[in-house]
């Protein structure tokens, strides 16, 4: 969970991709594309360990080639809905459960079994449709998409074909600062409801395959974007925003590793200025935002190279697989013409009819969505970096909102959350809901520091205790007698004590070694057990040190 805090797209400059291409074509050069560590929450750096000079030159050449082309990118996303039961039967679905333990005659496609639609699927579709600013179809229907495969028990998938539940929307995305920032609006072609298929488990020697139908019949929403993206980063950000959206809406856990959010990307390129699209290639097996980013940039470079070498005809309509290990795409299957799914209306299910009332009730129950949240945070005066961090995770945003609702200073609250709290969560691999600190106590802590009841340093100590063990700020302050000393006469007494106990140092100071001020301050702080107000302490200390006595 902790990882969800951090924007998971890794930074790669476009220039690097041609180098991976070269590595692929001649196999000699080596460079690692792996992102290593993150500096701050929103910035992740990748390092190049070995980049021979001549390769860099080649990379620059390829970069130039690529600049002559424009990429056209569209994404089809499958979002697995986190409904309690499957789309058309009463089976629950839990990722990772034993094969074929969550199945029934309906999702197994036994003879005589019939589907009955789970109304939560419609609710989720309407929520997402509204959140994506789509037009909802008041009358839509289900269709059968027919093909044979062992993971498809009925021999057809219940889907929506010509009348999807939602069409013609858009998704607003704010690009991270490190990618140059900026706002983008990507069109949404359609959103439709369908059911997932099961899974094939292949034996190691490839002798046989087994079918696990646990996932069969799990509800999905398929979201098709307009071909509005131009770079891997834009595509990855689109996917990340979609993930945020489904999480904010509570319709899916959006987990890519578990396959709850799956992106298939279509990429084509064309010479800059050309109007017709080039031949598009579909890329599958993209298990993270960074692989979306890298796979696309690899694919753009691959296609650009072919074009520039006069081999544009080698770009064929096909499905390519992203190989994470090799960092390249390979041919999975060439399109066997247009596959004919023989769609026709699903006769076992009645039409889906949405009333204006129903839509309004869903609409009014929608939570504040990421884009609105970002706009609100921006208006509060937070930097875009802060905004993107806080709005990235709905729980973090809620924690932040709750903290400032208790009157905490906006910037201070943001800093605490993005700094020590985020670091702690990352180290302990905890989500913000799992740490013991509550938003009330964070607000209290910030207020205590602001009112000078405690010092910032003590505040930090208390924070760590709160995160690890819980409790209240007041209680910790009381129990440990941590209230800041702000009485000047009390501090003066302590200063006098330190000065009198360290005559030698005092002499040195007055002899010009003014650096020793820090030593005295430290000593006073030590006597005060860290409770002395640092401002007052320094003020009084300097007065005393410089007093000609």
């Amino acid at each position: 969970m902790a990882s969800t805090l951090f924007r998971t797209i890794q930074t790669h400059s476009f220039m690097l991709y041609p180098t991976t291409l070269l590595r692929r074509s001649n196999g000699v050069f080596y460079c690692t594309m792996k992102s290593t560590h993150s500096q701050t929450a929103t910035q992740e750096k990748q390092q190049i360990r070995v980049t021979p000079q001549n390769q860099q030159n080649k990379a620059k050449t390829l970069d130039k080639i690529a600049k002559d082309y424009e990429a056209i990118i569209g994404i089809e996303t499958h979002v697995q809905l986190s409904t309690l039961t499957k789309a058309f039967c009463g089976c629950p679905y839990n990722y990772g459960s034993q094969p074929n333990t969550s199945i029934c005659p309906i999702c197994m496609g036994l003879p005589g079994a019939l589907p009955v639609l789970n109304s939560k699927v419609i609710e989720s579709a309407v929520k997402l449709g509204l959140a994506l600013n789509c037009k909802l179809s008041l009358n839509s229907k289900f269709d059968r998409k027919q093909y044979f495969y062992p993971d498809l028990p009925k021999g057809y998938q219940i889907s929506q074909f010509d009348i999807p539940i939602a069409t013609g929307g858009y998704l607003d995305v704010d690009l991270p600062i490190e990618f140059g920032g900026g706002h983008r609006r990507f069109g949404i072609t359609r959103v439709h409801m369908e059911e997932d298929a099961g899974k094939l488990l292949h034996s190691e020697d490839g002798d046989y395959s087994q079918v696990d139908l646990n996932r069969a019949g799990v509800p999905l929403l398929e979201i098709v974007s307009e071909p509005d993206m131009r770079t891997g980063v834009e595509a990855a950000e689109y996917a990340a925003e979609l993930q945020r959206l489904v999480r904010y809406l509570g319709v899916s856990n959006g987990n890519m590793q578990e396959g709850s959010l799956r992106c298939d990307v279509n990429v084509s390129i064309r010479p800059v200025g050309q109007l017709e699209f080039g031949t598009k290639v579909e890329i599958k097996n993209l298990n993270s935002f960074s692989s979306i980013n890298r796979a696309i940039d690899f694919e753009i470079a691959r296609q650009a190279l072919l074009y520039s070498q006069g081999q544009g005809d080698q770009i064929v309509q096909e499905t390519r697989l992203w190989e994470e290990g090799a960092q390249k795409t390979i041919t999975m299957r060439k399109k066997e013409g247009l596959s004919d799914y023989r769609y026709f209306p699903e006769p076992d299910l009645p039409e889906v009819i949405l009333s204006a009332e129903y839509i309004n009730s869903i609409s009014s129950s929608l939570p504040e969505l990421p884009e609105m949240k970002r706009q609100r945070y921006e208006k509060m005066g937070l930097s875009m970096q802060d905004v993107l961090f806080l709005a990235n995770d709905m729980n973090v945003a809620q924690f932040f909102d709750a903290t400032i609702a208790k009157g905490a200073d906006v910037k201070l609250a943001a800093n605490w959350i993005m700094g020590d709290i985020a670091a702690y969560m990352k180290n302990e691999k905890l989500s913000i809901n799992e740490i013991k600190l509550s938003s009330e106590e964070l607000a209290e802590l910030i207020a205590s520091i602001k009112s000078s009841t405690i010092s910032g340093k003590i505040g930090k100590e208390i924070l760590f205790e709160l995160m690890a063990k819980g409790g209240t700020v007041k209680r910790i302050i009381e129990e440990r007698d941590l209230v800041q000393i702000v009485d000047p006469s009390e501090i003066e007494k302590m200063v006098n004590k330190v000065l009198s106990e360290n005559p030698k140092q005092l002499e040195q100071y007055r002899g010009g070694k003014t650096k020793l001020q820090g030593f005295f301050a430290g000593q006073v702080m030590k006597i005060s057990k860290g409770k002395a107000n640092p401002g007052l302490l320094n003020k009084i200390l300097i007065e005393k040190l410089n007093a000609k006595s």
Binding site: P105, M108, G109, L110, P111, G112, A113, L114, P115, V116, L117, R144, Q146, F148, P150, P153, K154, G155, Y156, V211, L338, D340, R342, Y343, F344, P347, D348, L349, P350
Partner: protein
């Protein structure tokens, strides 16, 4: 009482077969008197058929007879007739046990359901948990479902005893029951003839009194046409009236589970039992289910014109060319009978009627090509071992399906293919809409519509086996009703020559959606007042001549 001799219009009387040939009187006992059958099928050659279900209930509750005795007598007859008929694919081993349980309940003065002790045949494309359910297909040979169809569940809950699974054309695709992968069922009226189909086993079983009532399924006439061929009552309910859960789908938008009985009352009582919304079938209707049995007034209480004012429309297109003259005269006889009962008869035209057949075969084939995709040999049913996936699919399906099924899958796949969809499937749906509208208009003007149930009486086994188009043409009377989703009742109304004792002809009555009540009322009165026509096949009436 009214006089109910047929008075067909003079000009049509030439179509009527001579009386001596067309009436069937059976007087010989069918079983020795030691068999305590409640109402011998031959009981009276002139009295109208009585509800077997009601008389069973009466006998059980008055302790005249036990459920076990009853079951034994039916089983005896079943075993005697089955070698000639082959109506059943599987027989239950639990009949006597279940009958005993009912007897014990009665002994303890506990309530028993309205179907207590009633032996029910169930078409083998309807799932039963304790018996194989094969849909007459090799691909499901020995397949045992893990659940009862909702209709079966309801029958059992009301005390009904499922006696066995009846034969059918594979997956309901056929009109003769010859397309079963396992056996050919014979017509009890003439064992050299087909019982009709696809619910031929269910129709033959009731006709031969192998069971009291039976469940069938009707996609394009599969309950009504065999009812007509076998001289029993067949009821196709409104689409959505009975849950399809557990009915192996042939064409989902057309399939309905229907009821067979030897009287209108029995068909109605069975419909009462199986009707109503089911949360497992999204297409089942929430429409309230009236008590259909309240319609069944005793004949002696009827007024002289009990159907006075009832507007009956004769569908003109159903008496066109291509309908046997014998069938025409039987229907015209029924028309006169309805007039005698006080009905106002008029002709109605359904201009889109002839389009129904091609539209039906396109839609039904299209849906079946999809519905039968699940029989791939992967999860259940017969799997042919193969080295790779496509071979597994191809071999399992090639060996599992019969030729009629394959033909319809191919036709349906073609009709749904890119580039053909608009010309076939979409066009057929448009025709369907037209047909629905024309029925609606005709039923706005009339309370019920009537037509023959089939253009001919039962034909010989093998006669149309190699001429599918001729067989398909036989469905002309019934498919339109499925396309419109309306309820229809078929009941025997006369005979034509053929077989040892004539062949029965069925009259089809079509009602407005969810108005089964009216059909049952009219059908019951028609049946109770029809003189001199008793529909007990010779196989039963002659006491199983070996």
């Amino acid at each position: 009482m009214l006089s109910t001799l047929h008075h067909p219009p003079r000009s049509l009387s030439r179509f009527l077969p001579s009386k001596s040939k067309t009436r069937s009187f059976h007087t010989k006992p069918i079983l020795s008197s030691s068999h305590p059958i409640i109402e011998q099928p031959h009981a009276s050659s002139t009295s109208p058929p009585q509800s077997q279900i009601l008389s069973i209930r009466h006998s059980l509750l008055s302790r005249h007879v036990t459920a076990t005795q009853l079951a034994e007598s039916y089983l005896t007859r079943l075993k005697l007739t089955e070698p000639q008929l082959n109506s059943f694919l599987h027989l239950s081993n639990n009949v006597l046990k279940e009958a005993q349980a009912i007897d014990e309940k009665i002994q303890r003065n506990e309530d028993v359901g309205p179907l207590a002790g009633v032996l029910v045949g169930v078409k083998d494309n309807i799932c039963t948990v304790d018996m194989p359910s094969t849909a007459g297909s090799k691909v499901l040979e020995n397949y045992c479902p893990p659940f009862d169809a909702t209709a079966v569940k309801r029958v059992k809950e009301l005390g009904g005893i499922v006696v066995g699974k009846t034969n059918l054309d594979e997956f309901g695709m056929g009109s003769t029951t010859e397309a079963s992968a396992f056996q050919v069922t014979a017509n009890p009226w003439d064992v050299s003839r087909v019982p009709g189909g696809s619910s031929g086993g269910s129709a033959a079983a009731v006709s031969a009194r192998q069971c009291v009532v039976s469940l069938g399924s009707d996609t394009g006439g599969s309950v009504r046409q065999p009812a007509s061929f076998c001289g029993v009552v067949g009821l196709k309910p409104t689409y959505g009236r009975v849950s399809r859960f557990g009915l192996m789908a042939y064409a989902s938008s057309l399939d309905v589970i229907g009821c067979f009985g030897s009287s209108v009352a029995d068909a109605g009582i069975l419909l009462n039992a199986v009707s109503g919304h089911d949360r497992l079938d999204a297409t089942s209707s929430k429409q309230e289910v009236p008590d259909f049995t309240s319609q069944f007034v005793s004949a002696t209480l009827l007024e002289s014109k009990p159907l006075k004012g009832l507007r009956v429309g004769i569908i003109r297109e159903t008496l066109d060319n291509g309908v046997d003259t014998g069938v025409k005269s039987a229907i015209l006889g029924a028309v006169s009978h309805l007039e005698e009962l006080g009905c106002t008869l008029s002709e109605v035209s359904l201009p889109s009627f002839s389009l129904g057949l091609p539209a039906y075969y396109i839609l039904a084939s299209s849906e079946s090509s999809s519905n039968l995709s699940r029989y791939d040999g992967v999860r259940y049913g017969n799997q042919v071992v193969a080295d790779e996936l496509n071979a597994l699919y191809e071999d399992s399906r090639a060996k599992g399906f019969g030729s009629e099924v394959k033909m319809r899958i191919l036709m349906g796949t073609y009709a749904l293919s890119a580039g053909y969809y608009d010309a076939y499937y979409k066009r057929a749906q448009q025709v369907r809409t037209l047909i629905q509208k024309s029925f609606k208009a005709a039923l706005d003007e009339n309370d019920i519509l009537i037509s023959p149930a089939a253009p001919s009486a039962a034909y010989k086994i093998g006669e149309k086996k190699n001429d599918p188009l001729a067989m398909y043409a036989g469905d002309i009377m019934t498919v339109n009703v499925n396309l419109a989703g309306l309820p229809a009742l078929v009941l025997p109304c006369g005979f034509v020559e053929g077989g040892p004792a004539g062949l029965p002809i069925g009259l089809q009555m079509i009602g407005a959606a969810f108005d089964e009540e009216k059909l049952l009322k009219v059908g019951h009165i028609f049946e109770q007042t029809l003189q001199d026509c008793r529909f007990v096949p010779p196989l039963v009436a002659d006491g199983f001549a070996q």
